[in-house]
């Protein structure tokens, strides 16, 4: 389910309209607004931190190039999430095919001397658990539960039958919960 429309969504959609006309200032503001979200999405999908910013840039460019296809029939952020998820998903597939299945994580530290919030650490632990899932399970779990795409949408996106996707979701979530519990335990210990 796409998240509820908000004033922010209207403002973002307005910026998107201007950006689609090629207004660089509106595009800049739009990118600033979307950047944290796109980086989070990239990190949910990709193993490790090294490729996050490259993938984010590709996602932002894809959103920009797709602005003319935004028909305004839903919240702008939900639309942008889907466009970005598809772009990141394809980029990862290409990278897996040609080079590597993405680097392992850096040491889990917080930059800039900022004290990490519990929520941030929790999400990092979740990403660490996702890193241990198979790519197929990970993409299913992230696209469905994190991005909010429906099961048929995800099945179409990854090119598998709906039943196969349901199976991946079930197994993926079961494994993810177990891994996450272990991850929390190890961090607490």
């Amino acid at each position: 389910m796409p998240e509820r429309d908000s004033v922010e969504d209207y403002v973002l959609a307005g910026l998107a309209t201007l950006a689609a006309e090629g207004d660089p200032h509106a595009t800049e503001r739009l990118f600033h607004a979307l950047l944290p979200r796109m980086r989070n999405l990239a990190r949910y999908l990709v193993r490790g931190d090294q490729d996050v910013d490259d993938l984010t840039q590709e996602a932002l460019v894809a959103v920009f190039r797709g602005l003319n296809t935004y028909r305004g029939d839903g919240p702008f952020r939900a639309w942008a999430d889907r466009v970005a998820a598809r772009r990141i998903f394809r980029s990862i597939e290409e990278r897996r095919a040609h080079t590597r299945w993405l680097a392992s994580d850096d040491p889990d530290t917080v930059q800039h001397g900022v004290e990490a919030s519990a929520s941030y650490l929790w999400r990092r632990a979740l990403a660490g658990s996702l890193d241990q899932l198979s790519w197929e399970q990970r993409q299913a779990v992230v696209l469905h539960f994190v991005v909010g795409m429906t099961v048929p949408e995800v099945a179409t996106e990854v090119g598998v039958p709906i039943e196969t996707l349901r199976s991946r979701l079930r197994l993926g979530m079961s494994k993810l919960k177990a891994l996450f519990a272990e991850e929390l335990e190890s961090r607490a210990g």
Binding site: D5, V7, Y10, V11, L12, G14, L15, T17, L18, E21, G22, P24, H25, A26, T27, E28, R29, F31, H32, P36, R37, R39, N40, L41, R43, Y44, V52, T56, Q57, L60, V61, F64, R65, L67, N68, R71, G72, D73, G74, F76, V110, Q111, H112, V114, S117, A118, Y120, L121, W122, R123, L126, A127, V142, V146, V147, G148, L176, K177, F180, L184
Partner: protein, 307 residues
């Protein structure tokens, strides 16, 4: 990790909060956005950006409404202030235009057109998909006040037409007929686009009154406050709208609130609001202007103390 701080949904839905991506510093964020703009062909490598837009060169100056009609002499002293308010209005124009697009009302896509002005009309770049035949209807040309409520009146027998009964009218066209928030907002936007600011203001207020909890009400509050400040010269009215209704988290609303306090001559509140705005949204395109204004206010305070 305290379990009370943990999200209740597993895994959490995608959002803008910190994590799982590593946090970036402000400079890094700017650099990432810059790279993306270069990749989109909107920036050239090695070309310096134009200087920070000043009060006459807003980041959205292209949307500034055409020069306002001649004002009484007493009002021209505040012209500069109104220009900034107009700039803000343009920020909001972009948001509410999106509302029109969001609801798929084709005529409202022209929300931006009157504000851009002076250039020949361009075809709308965003393809709109009207959601229902009713919404595809062209915008009425006569004042919308006379068209309200927007219910088609069935043809009546001649006798009844000659002697219209007020009671009969209200039965045929109930004045409290439900009108969708997006439709009302669309009507308000259209009126504003036609520069019928008074009627537009009333229509925005109607959105707020009839649909107080809707996201359209937030957008309408912001637009109504802009009109009150810019066209009604009623900063107190703008403040009343902005201080209530939960639009305080929207950056543009915060900035406009600061402008309204300035227009009302309440510089202490203006300072508070602008400080809060800059602290919460340090990278917002209006933040440099807010900082400059704060510096000016601080300078005034210092001069005042010296005296």
């Amino acid at each position: 990790m305290d379990e009370h701080d943990l999200p209740s949904v597993f895994p959490p839905r995608l959002d803008d909060a910190e994590g799982p991506a590593r946090p970036l510093g402000e400079e890094e964020k700017r650099a990432r956005v810059e790279s993306a703009l270069i990749a989109c062909g909107l920036r050239r490598v090695g070309v310096e950006e134009p200087p920070e837009p000043d009060e006459r060169q807003s980041t959205i100056r292209e949307l500034r409404p055409r020069r306002a009609p001649a004002e009484p002499r007493a009002l021209t002293a505040s012209k500069k202030r109104r220009v900034r308010a107009a700039v803000f209005a343009a920020v909001f124009v972009s948001g509410t235009a999106a509302a029109a697009i969001t609801v798929g009302w084709t005529p409202l896509a022209s929300w931006l057109a009157p504000a851009v002005e002076e250039s020949p009309p361009k075809p709308p770049p965003v393809k709109l998909a009207p959601t229902s035949p009713a919404l595809r209807a062209p915008l009425p040309q006569e004042p919308l006040a006379s068209a309200e409520p927007s219910v088609v009146v069935p043809e009546a027998p001649l006798e009844e037409t000659r002697l219209p009964s007020r009671q009969a009218d209200t039965r045929t066209i109930p004045s409290n007929a439900p009108v969708a928030a997006e439709d009302l907002l669309g009507e308000a936007n259209a009126l504003r686009g036609q520069r019928r600011y008074g009627q537009a203001l009333n229509k925005y207020l109607e959105v707020v009154r009839r649909h107080p909890g809707s996201p359209q009400a937030g957008a309408a509050r912001l637009a109504a406050a802009t009109l009150r400040l810019e066209h009604e010269h009623d900063p107190q009215g703008a403040i009343a709208l902005l201080e209530n209704g939960g639009v305080g988290q929207v950056p543009e609303a915060q900035y406009l609130l600061g402008e309204s306090y300035r227009a009302a001559g309440r510089s202490e509140r203006e300072q508070e609001v602008l400080r809060s705005f800059v602290a919460r949204h340090p990278n917002h395109p209006l933040a440099p202007k807010a900082r400059r204004r704060l510096e000016a206010l601080d300078g005034d305070d210092a001069a005042h103390e010296e005296r």
